[in-house]
């Protein structure tokens, strides 16, 4: 504290003499940043390695037999054994993992071991946009709903509106997502007929149609996320609203809405943003229930379908991609903290 004030006062005096050291400082800063980036990448690699190894090991424990999927029923033990041998399923685990890792490092995630033997990366690239879109839309909607709700709630903390919103979010949180989806379908799709039931319109077939089809599933996801975000944001907002700088802003004559969005929101968003990041990452992989309800061709459907048929190669590839996205999303969230709270920024000083 005191050191800084001395430095600042010194800075006021001798700005001219600081020029050469500024360049040196910048170079030092650049090196520090590069090193940090490198560390980050190394962390990412470590996570992916552990996740893929763990998944591989776990998958080997599941004994859904791809030979059964390939041959169907009615064949002899020997037949199935032969297929399993062909697929290399009797080779040692680490050897198979090393093989897979070798290819994966080159971007080759292999091909499905059951018909129609699709390339795993191709299938993931087809399914991923659906899940990503759903997750983003769902979370986006949730933000759209939860910010005003939380603000309203926090502003009237303890009042009637607050209690109603609290009860509402509590109820929504208690309803599991498949049930929420079913209720929404019953109401908006079958009931009022506003939305389609089990169709998907790809993005390249038109944005309007795509968003129309994505609305109901995204809303299903958004409900639970809204409830969670609202509660967390409300809590942080209430704390923030008691800060002196809010009072100071009022004393400047700033209006309530301005104070809410401009002053109160960002400092209160840490918990919410953290949860958002976790949710986004989690949703990419676990929209499976919503996908199943609405018959959508996303990652959840892909992974569950592959797991059901014993197609471990596809599951492995999909989990890797999901882990990658998860880590990337959380890294982005980490970076965003610097935007949200400048005190966190590791600036050159």
């Amino acid at each position: 504290m005191t050191n800084q004030s001395v430095k600042d006062d010194a800075g006021a005096l001798g700005s001219a003499s600081a020029a050469p050291s500024l360049r040196a400082r910048r170079r030092a800063g650049a090196w520090r940043r590069t090193r940090r980036l490198f560390v980050r990448v190394a962390e990412l690699m470590a996570v992916l390695f552990l996740v893929s190894l763990g998944t591989f090991a776990l998958l080997s424990l599941i004994d859904t037999d791809p030979a059964v999927t390939i041959l169907g029923e009615g064949h002899t033990q020997a037949d199935y054994e032969a297929v399993r041998e062909d697929l290399g399923l009797n080779d040692p685990l680490l050897e198979r993992y090393a093989d897979w890792l070798g290819s994966a490092a080159h971007g080759d995630l292999g091909a499905s071991i059951v018909p129609p033997y699709h390339d795993v990366l191709d299938r993931i690239m087809a399914a991923l946009p659906v899940s990503v879109e759903l997750a983003l839309l769902g979370v986006g909607m949730a933000l759209l709903f939860s910010i005003p709700l939380a603000m309203w709630s926090a502003y009237h903390a303890g009042g009637r509106i607050d209690r109603w919103i609290s009860a509402g979010t509590f109820s929504v949180l208690s309803v599991p997502s498949f049930l929420a989806g079913l209720l929404l379908i019953w109401l908006l799709s079958n009931g009022l007929g506003w939305f389609p039931r089990a169709e998907w319109s790809r993005l390249d077939e038109g944005l309007g149609a795509n968003l129309y089809h994505a609305f109901l599933p995204a809303l299903t996801i958004a409900l639970a996320e809204t409830a969670l975000l609202t509660r967390v944001l409300r809590s942080d907002l209430i704390t923030t609203l008691q800060e002196d700088y809010i009072l100071a802003a009022r004393a400047k004559g700033m209006g309530t809405v301005h104070i809410m969005f401009s002053d109160a929101l960002r400092p209160s968003s840490f918990s919410a943003v953290t949860i958002l990041g976790i949710s986004l990452g989690r949703l990419i992989g676990s929209t499976v229930i919503v996908e199943y309800l609405f018959a959508l061709p996303g990652m959840g459907t892909l992974v569950v379908g592959a797991a059901r048929t014993g197609d471990y190669v596809t599951v492995q590839g999909a989990v890797l991609v999901i882990a990658l996205i998860y880590v990337a999303t959380n890294a982005l969230i980490d970076l965003s903290y610097g935007y949200l709270d400048p005190r966190v920024r590791r600036s050159h000083a």
Partner: protein, 336 residues
């Protein structure tokens, strides 16, 4: 001189707490002329901050506060204003400097933003002009290299710098009245002096009236025209600064002055602290609120609450003031 800028009459603020209604401000009256500096002195819990904020009108829409009395700023009763009128008033008519510069500035907002948004709220100017004004403000409050500072975040400034920004923020729209609530309490001693000098200078330049609130007599000495001493939610003594410091009449004011450590005193001399604690304002004692801690207490002090009685411009609320004065008690005082 014309009509006083600020006239507070019988202002009371009662806060609903878990334990019951707490009378933070009880029947306070004061007035302030344009350009005048009033110092309000009192210990923690005396109600001075609540008084300041109530005068400003910050508690008007708070359902926990029950306000009575009037606060006339330039003839308009602040307590009767609509929220939009209050918001229009905060900034151009009255501004507040807060105690803790660490928390009075929003950590996620740049210094410049704090100032620019204040300017643009009350003036129809372009962003560019507003930024220009912000730079001028930073200069005015004595911040060197304003072009660099304007884009920095509060945590990148020292405590003193930050308080200067808070002041700049309060002055952005040239208010007629500046309320400074313990403006130096959170700062180092050397910086305190700088800030107080700054406030002096600005007052002179802008011709503002100032209410300076502090628990520290040293802050108030020599920099105010008038002083009011608060205790237990009431004003117990008020006078022009000179008179009060030369000859305080209320035992509390007198004790406060006596408690200031002096360089002239003998070494290892004990601090003349005031025994006891402030009164419970939910259930205030009957009679004089200072009675429990007063050295010169008499029996009727505990029964009859004293009124603020003026001798010229010097008001005292005590049955047995410590300096010669017409007392309200029937017996004349025999003590010092």
């Amino acid at each position: 001189m014309g009509r006083p800028l600020l006239v507070v009459e019988n202002l009371s603020a009662v806060i609903t707490t878990g334990r019951g209604p707490l009378t933070a401000v009880d029947g306070v009256s004061l007035s302030l002329d344009r350009g005048e500096v009033l110092g309000i002195v009192g210990e923690s819990g005396s109600g001075k901050s609540v008084l300041a904020r109530t005068i400003m009108g910050l508690h008007c829409s708070d359902p926990r506060f029950a306000l009575s009395g009037t606060v006339k700023l330039d003839g308009r009763d602040v307590l009767g204003l609509e929220p939009s009128q209050l918001r229009a008033m905060w900034g151009p008519e009255v501004g507040m400097v807060f105690q803790d510069p660490m928390t009075a500035l929003n950590p996620v907002k740049r210094v410049g933003t704090h100032l620019v948004e204040a300017v643009r709220k009350h003036q129809q100017v372009t962003r560019r002009d507003a930024v220009g004004q912000a730079l001028d403000l930073l200069d005015m409050v004595g911040i060197p290299d304003p072009r660099r500072r304007i884009n920095q975040f509060p945590h990148q400034l020292s405590g003193g710098m930050r308080q200067r920004v808070v002041i700049a923020m309060a002055l952005a729209n040239r208010p007629k009245l500046l309320i400074a609530d313990e403006p130096t309490t959170a700062l180092d001693v050397t910086v305190q002096r700088q800030i107080l000098d700054l406030l002096d200078r600005l007052r002179g330049e802008l011709g503002m009236a100032v209410i300076m609130i502090s628990h520290d007599l040293g802050v108030v000495a020599g920099r105010t025209d008038r002083v009011a001493v608060m205790y237990g939610g009431e004003i117990v003594e008020t006078a022009d600064a000179r008179s009060l410091f030369d000859a305080p009449r209320h035992p509390y004011a007198s004790a406060l002055l006596a408690a200031i450590p002096s360089l002239k005193g003998a070494p290892h001399q004990r601090l003349a602290a005031i025994d006891g604690t402030p009164p419970d304002l939910v259930m205030p004692p009957s009679g004089c609120r200072f009675a429990a801690r007063c050295d010169a207490v008499h029996d009727d002090c505990r029964v009859q609450p004293p009124q603020l009685i003026f001798d010229g411009t010097h008001g005292t609320a005590c049955h047995y003031p410590v300096n010669p004065l017409i007392s309200t008690a029937s017996n004349t005082s025999g003590d010092t």
